[in-house]
Amino acid sequence: MQTKYKIGLLRGNLLVAAVLLALLAMATTTLTEALLLWLSATWLATSALLMAFNHRRPVTVPWQLLPGLLLAALLWVAPERHVTWLWAWAVLLMLPQPRWILLLETLLALATWWPLRELLGLEQWTLSGLGLAALMLLGLSRALDLRTLRKSALSRARLVPGLTLWPGSRLPRDLALERSRSLREGVHAELLLLHAPRHQSWSLAQRLCHLTHSFEHCYRLDSRTLATVLISRDRHQANERRGMLWRSLGARGPARAIPLSGLASLDAERLALARQPAGLLVIEEPSHA
């Protein structure tokens, strides 16, 4: 890694921000404002605690919506005291988020700016509107920078720095590659599909990565399915290794092992896994192969 990223600094910044918002909350007089500010402070503090340096937690939609909604609520409830925050819309657009949230935030910004007319007077109202629009455009262009980078990199990036855990979209290509390679080298390769309970899926994936050889990559197909490609010298060694892996993995859900030479379709195997009872099922190699 060229860049050693300091996650601690970000966490510190989040906590300082939470404290400042809490101070603001204590300085307010009305209940709704205080409530909103406390909520924001809690949101920041929770984010600080959940923050981790991997792709594990693809931010969920309600979590992404919350800052926009809080900002809008604050500006509607007490514009005369919190009007400073109007400009925050421009930076908020910089967050990596889906397109429709960007649109929603733009609409919310418009909806919070519009009622300021009486408070500001026509001239300042127009001026602030122009300024806000310009800043939001700038924020949007910054967001686009990251978006293009992410789009190209996310499909090939590993899910956790340092682990050979890859997104499921890579598996079909790697399977084709491994199939032709194992055929040429005359080794036994098999696909192991595992069903993992939702809350254990990440710890199981980590254990799977540690238990397999470094050249046997692991994949996370969805939130409940993991896969790995096991490579052994022959069928006998494969049986031995698979049995040992299964025992030390301690997984209790359904799993199936399919030799690559007999693998017809990945989707069909995933369907079969979903219907299968718990335990490891080994599919035998077709005899004519």
Binding site: T84, V91, L95, Q124, L138, R142, A153, R156
Partner: protein
């Protein structure tokens, strides 16, 4: 660390041009109002923004300069114009820090924002320092900074998890070494031979200095393409240093590795680039000895690459 912000420079240039137009419009408006003494500032600033627009269209290195110009324009305008508009200081005090955060990278932006706190508060707060305004300003600065932080985190995360090199389609150094270690494991377990072709591009530095980054990129791309068209599916090309590449060829005997080297040299021979002409490359073959450990082999490869670079 390379600059990871491939600015959408057209959008940025358009933004600066829009700013210049707005300022021009403002000076015209002031002319119509007859407030002649206020005209020079927006007129000069619109010229500055025009310069920033031009800087933005010329290239990536200048865009930082353009951002600073735009920032100076914004600051001057806010500092001179806003105190006249007696209104809500609470509103306007939030504008400069957000502008800074949007235009500059996080660290200089935070430094500027925090050090300019008293100035903005004094200018816009009409002389009296109000603790409420101060708290509002500070929390906006701190909270808004979280978003560039998050962006930086995403960038760093992508860099750390992206197997590719940042400049070309070869694997990055981390991925190269990791992949090589795992291939050695595999070769050991399955009893297979492993060969690594060391490649050095002696022209790369000179091309970068003489013909600029585009010619350098073309040279890198031509190597990657030549390798991609000749390699087998499971051979991987990785970038070991600036001009040093390793082609990892698992399950390959010496004769087929030599054949590969021959074909690669031929492929590079056929390429003619606009600035550099003929692509020169030095190559050397290294094979994993029986029972050789990864750290030893790694050392040998690194030494080989170094001597290849010296010539």
């Amino acid at each position: 660390m390379p600059d990871l912000r491939p600015h959408h420079s057209r959008l940025f240039a358009a933004w600066h041009a829009g700013g210049a137009l707005l300022l021009l419009g403002m000076s015209l408006w002031l002319y119509l109002l007859g407030e002649y003494e206020r005209i020079p500032l927006p007129a000069i600033l619109s010229l500055l923004m025009l310069v920033a627009t031009l800087l933005n269209t010329t290239g990536d290195e200048q865009s930082r300069m353009a951002a600073y110009l735009a920032l100076v324009c914004g600051y001057l305008l806010i500092a001179v114009e806003l105190p006249r508009q007696s209104g809500l200081p609470l509103l306007w005090v939030g504008l400069p820090p957000v502008l800074t955060l949007l235009l500059l990278p996080l660290a200089p932006a935070m430094l500027l924002n925090l050090s300019l706190t008293p100035i903005w508060l004094a200018l816009l707060g009409e002389g009296e320092l109000d603790s409420q305004t101060l708290l509002g300003y500070l929390s906006l600065v701190i909270v808004a900074a979280l978003i560039p932080w998050e962006q930086a985190r995403q960038h760093a995360l992508l860099r750390a998890t992206d197997p590719r090199d940042s400049e070309c389609s070869a694997n990055g150094r981390e991925t190269l070494h990791e992949g090589l270690a795992s291939e050695i494991d595999r070769a050991g377990m399955l009893g297979q031979p492993l060969a690594v072709l060391l490649i050095h591009l002696p022209q790369l530095d000179m091309v970068g200095e003489q013909f600029g980054p585009r010619a350098r990129q073309a040279l890198l791309d031509s190597l990657c393409q030549a390798v991609a068209s000749r390699r087998r599916d499971h051979d991987t090309l990785g970038r070991e240093g600036q001009a040093d590449f390793w082609l990892v060829m698992p399950d390959t005997t010496e004769s087929s590795a030599l054949l590969m080297q021959q074909r690669l040299l031929q492929a590079l021979d056929q390429i003619t680039l606009m600035d550099t002409g003929h692509v020169a490359a030095r190559m050397r073959l290294c094979r994993l000895k029986a029972g050789e450990s990864w750290p030893r082999f790694e050392q040998r490869l690194e030494a080989g690459s170094e001597s290849l670079a010296i010539g």
